[in-house]
């Protein structure tokens, strides 16, 4: 079968009680791809992303990472390979920046403390926050928190990085910092999925755009196709409003 498919999703459904949010999503993500998920609010794009690493347990459907079906039994191991960055950063409040970075690699016995700290310092230095290593998240700005959160996800060297509206809770100045860090990861060949409302960033960074409406993928294509020659009326209408 396909050699370098990182992620494959078949007929994914998700309901919250009677509310059907995802209505059969089929999707594939290949290594090195950068997919931006767009759609109106309430379309299910965040839920889609959150189902991939079972932050929300799918109601039905199949998710494969490197050909392995994600189940309740192996989801913990699979999550190590799927990094996630949240809208509200979710740095662990009672741990310092350093401990936020080294907690998972150490607890999962992937690294010894010294090695984890060394790597954490390198990454913090890279994003210019080495002096914050011993600070608690409360003392960081939003942009700093999000960059630490991205670096925290990178500590586990995931195969795929999921971004759930990573800049929606940030001020304009911080948005730039966070986007340039994501851009840098992209340039280094990281496989990425992003749910975002930053259209120009989507256009710039995506290798593929996926448009979700009412819990289904209704259009996908390269940014050029998508933004210049939308096929469906729904996307035309959406683009008219947001551009």
């Amino acid at each position: 079968m396909e050699q370098n498919t990182d992620l494959k999703i078949k007929n994914l459904h998700k309901s919250f009680g009677k509310n059907k949010v995802l209505n059969g999503i089929d999707f594939e993500l290949k290594e090195g791809e950068r997919v931006v998920v767009l759609g109106p609010s309430g379309s299910g794009k965040s839920t889609f992303l959150r189902c991939i690493n079972w932050m929300e347990e799918p109601t039905s459907g199949e998710i494969y990472l490197d050909g392995e079906l994600v189940t309740e039994k192996n989801v913990r191991r699979i999550r190590r390979n799927i990094g996630m960055v949240f809208q509200h950063f979710n740095l662990i409040n009672n741990l310092t920046v350093m401990d936020n970075l080294i907690l998972a690699p150490m607890k999962l016995k992937l690294m010894k403390r010294a090695a984890a700290e060394k790597r954490a310092k390198q990454l913090l230095k890279h994003i210019g926050l080495l002096d914050k290593a011993d600070s608690f998240p409360a003392s960081l700005s939003g942009g700093q928190k999000q960059r630490v959160a991205i670096v925290r996800a990178m500590m586990l060297s995931p195969e795929v990085l999921l971004f759930d509206e990573p800049t929606s809770a940030l001020d304009p100045e911080s948005i730039g910092d966070v986007l340039s860090l994501i851009r840098e990861l992209a340039d280094r060949g990281m496989t990425i999925m992003i749910v975002t409302h930053e259209m120009s960033f989507a256009k710039e960074i995506a290798t593929r755009i996926v448009f979700i409406d009412k819990g289904k993928i209704i259009e996908e294509g390269t940014p050029k196709e998508f933004f210049s020659h939308p096929k469906t009326p729904r996307v035309k209408e959406f683009l008219k409003k947001v551009l």
Binding site: I78, N93, L108, L156
Partner: protein
């Protein structure tokens, strides 16, 4: 007024009165101490079951916990004490202090469970999600992330519960136990001082001093827990 001070003099100079007060105080403290231990232990278990992710294994324990807290919180403490004394442990020669400790411990557990549950639920869901996304186990997430944050919210309310238990033990005098409250009544009775005012004021001061001390300790603990927040603001 003169009479009041002479009565105080009489109370503190009569060793049998002092003995009675201290004995009563000791019993009050013993009941409260062990009841609080039981309450915190059992309350923690109930809260953990209650806040755990629903699963078929936990459905029945969760239901039992709900029924338990509903019954305990929905009926008077004094009635629960009577049921323990006159129904469940109506065994000749069974030590009444144990019955009392169990009655207050089982009661306090329901309230403590609510306090702990509230503390756990007050921790932002995103904190747990961060741990899950990193592949951590639920146990690690609880021990390293949720519990340390929940404790900050639990301590003040738990202090309140401790104070409530200490004061509420005074109703053991209703089943004839000689606690601080009962001692005050006994000393003031006709066969002894024949005046209730002074022994009751003194008993009140005993309670007050104890609770003041506990409030002080709880505040110190709170402060030291908040230090990590202060460090964070630097």
């Amino acid at each position: 007024m003169n009479d009041f001070f002479s009565k105080i003099g009489e109370l503190f100079s009569t060793s049998s009165y002092i003995d009675s007060l201290l004995h009563g105080f000791l019993l009050t403290m013993q009941i409260a101490y062990f009841a609080i231990l039981i309450g915190v232990f059992l309350g923690t278990i109930i809260a953990l079951i209650d806040t755990a992710k629903p699963s078929k294994w936990l459905a029945i324990p969760k239901f039992i916990c709900k029924v338990y807290t509903t019954i305990i919180r929905g009926t008077p403490m004094a009635l629960q004490l009577f049921i323990m004394f006159f129904v469940i442990f109506a065994i000749k020669g069974f030590p009444s202090i144990i019955t009392a400790i169990l009655a207050f411990g089982l009661n306090s557990a329901a309230y403590t469970a609510e306090v702990i549950r509230g503390g756990i639920l007050s921790v932002d869901k995103g904190q747990t999600e961060a741990g899950l996304a990193l592949g951590l186990s639920r146990y690690t997430i609880f021990m390293k992330i949720v519990a340390p944050q929940a404790i900050k919210n639990i301590i003040p309310a738990l202090g309140n519960e401790i104070i409530t238990v200490i004061k509420e033990t005074a109703i053991v005098s209703m089943v004839g136990m000689y606690d601080l409250n009962m001692a005050a009544k006994d000393i003031g009775s006709g066969q002894n001082m024949a005046s209730y005012l002074v022994p009751m004021v003194v008993a009140a001061l005993f309670y007050l001093a104890t609770i003041y001390l506990i409030t002080f300790i709880v505040q110190r603990v709170e402060k030291s827990l908040r230090k990590s927040d202060l460090r964070a603001e630097k």
